[in-house]
Amino acid sequence: MKWIPAASLVVLTLPALAAPPSSVVGAPGKPAQDTCTECHKALDDPRLQGPANLAADDIHHRQGVTCAGCHGGDPTAEDPEQAMDPKKGFVGKIPAQRIPEVCGSCHSDAAFMLRYAPNIPTDQLAQYRTSKHGLALAKGDTRVATCASCHEAHGVLPASDARSPVYPTRIVETCERCHGDKALMANYGLSGQEVAEYKESVHYQALTVKNDLSAPTCNDCHGSHGATPPGVSSVSNVCGNCHLTQREAFDLSPHRDAFAIMEQPACEACHGNHKVLPPQDSWIGVGEGQVCGSCHSAGDKGAEVASALFGALDGTVKRLEAARQRVEQLEARGMLMDDAAVQLEEAHQALVLARSEVHTANRQRVEAQTSQAQQALAKAEGLAKAAEDELRFRHNGLKVSLVVILVAVVALALKIREIESRAQ
């Protein structure tokens, strides 16, 4: 009979998973009318009045879900005792541990959700149960995040609404409420620094400064409902979702297998996880502060390759800078340098590709790109020289004209002298 407790558990939870009756959940599209909101709006206690004031903006309320849809009770009763009657299912403040089930009672019901928003997924609860938050909650830890922690309980807005706490640019602040609290995070062995580190990253910059909504925020790498840090073996997959070129290059390198054996998280080993900064060419090497030095040491094969890679990149970068300055100076002096500018762009592009190829840790592949850049730079330098020659030609032409004019002036002087001596 060991299965009876388990079975009864399932049976007991079943009603909670069934969608609420239509008496408490109205037809889609029509804002809910309930006595709950009416009475609570008139109350003085802000804890009781607050939710009622948020009802007008709340997506559930606007779609016809009354307060009773989550809290139970009778939304049509005028009398508070009848409205908040436990016999009619009134629960009052929903305990943290029951929140996922309450939300899931509608949101996991595909047939039900079809009537309201067919395009919203219905797997949130299942995912949540696999997440760190869900697992901890199941063990009785009520400090972890539940649905209401991120989505709010009242005044819930769709994630696509810019005011929602789970709008892409606002997710960081939402997670930060707990994950930035060092004291709280210490209980879980987390530093509480992760969000602060993320805020220094290129991804955060892209999201907030460049307004690129496709830039990754917490949920893009960790999952939203199934929030869990990617395992060591899956870091490469996660980053590779967007950075496919670099991931494919990495897979060609000896690092892929080596890291897997050493259980090193691929991309993270060199680029970090939260504080992902713009990578610099100067990172390549075994010296102080250089990433290859974490495993390689001076003199070994890896160090040799690193040195060659850095050399190829750095040499090209310096030559590109010099060429660019030369072309800019010529442009400022009035020369048309469009063709040279095109060559400089080609060189720049080859350099960008070279930096992707660095992930293969393959000297030949990187040098194939840098030598293309060098070829384009040679052409640009040739064009710059032609422009400089043209300028020199102009200066020489001028000097010749000056000489001619000078001779004419001298001739005039002689003529004047001759005329005036004659007059004497």
Partner: protein
């Protein structure tokens, strides 16, 4: 003798004066003559270029052309329509290309994808490619940039 020297001196001065003034006039007029003959590219580079030829652009193919110093991309869709966009990837300014296997525009640098409307559909590019106006006169494809 003194008279002769004086006369030859005067002749020399006259000759020098005439020659040097003449040379000055030539030196001044030569650039003017070269100037008034229009250069090969007869118009100031406005916003319109001849980007390519229809006969050299089969369906499901693309071609990079130049707008001054900047690249543009000319695309002939699989359906046969001709479109033109800025060829500068909106991510980090690499030059994009047409991929016949994807049947849309792609950037080699960081695997950015743009659809046939120039809209960024995958990868790091944050914005669509700027679209240009295409005019076809006979076999010639003219591309005009917005003002």
């Amino acid at each position: 003798m003194a008279e002769q020297r004086k006369v030859s001196r005067k002749t020399f001065v006259n000759w020098l004066l005439g020659t040097s003034l003449g040379a000055t006039v030539v030196a001044a007029l030569y650039p003017v003559f070269r100037y008034v003959l229009p250069p090969e590219v007869a118009e100031a580079p406005t916003n319109r270029v001849l980007a390519g030829k229809l006969s050299e652009l089969p369906p499901n193919s693309g071609k990079i052309f130049r707008f001054g110093a900047k690249p543009g991309i000319l695309v002939r869709t699989p359906a046969g329509e001709v479109r033109a966009f800025s060829g500068i990837c909106t991510h980090l300014n690499c030059t994009v290309q047409y991929r016949a296997d994807f049947q849309h525009i792609w950037c080699a640098c960081h695997n950015g994808h743009y659809d046939l409307q120039g809209k960024n559909i995958q990868g790091p590019p944050p914005r669509p490619l700027e679209a240009f106006k295409v005019d076809i006169v006979g076999d010639d494809i003219y591309v005009t940039r917005g003002a």
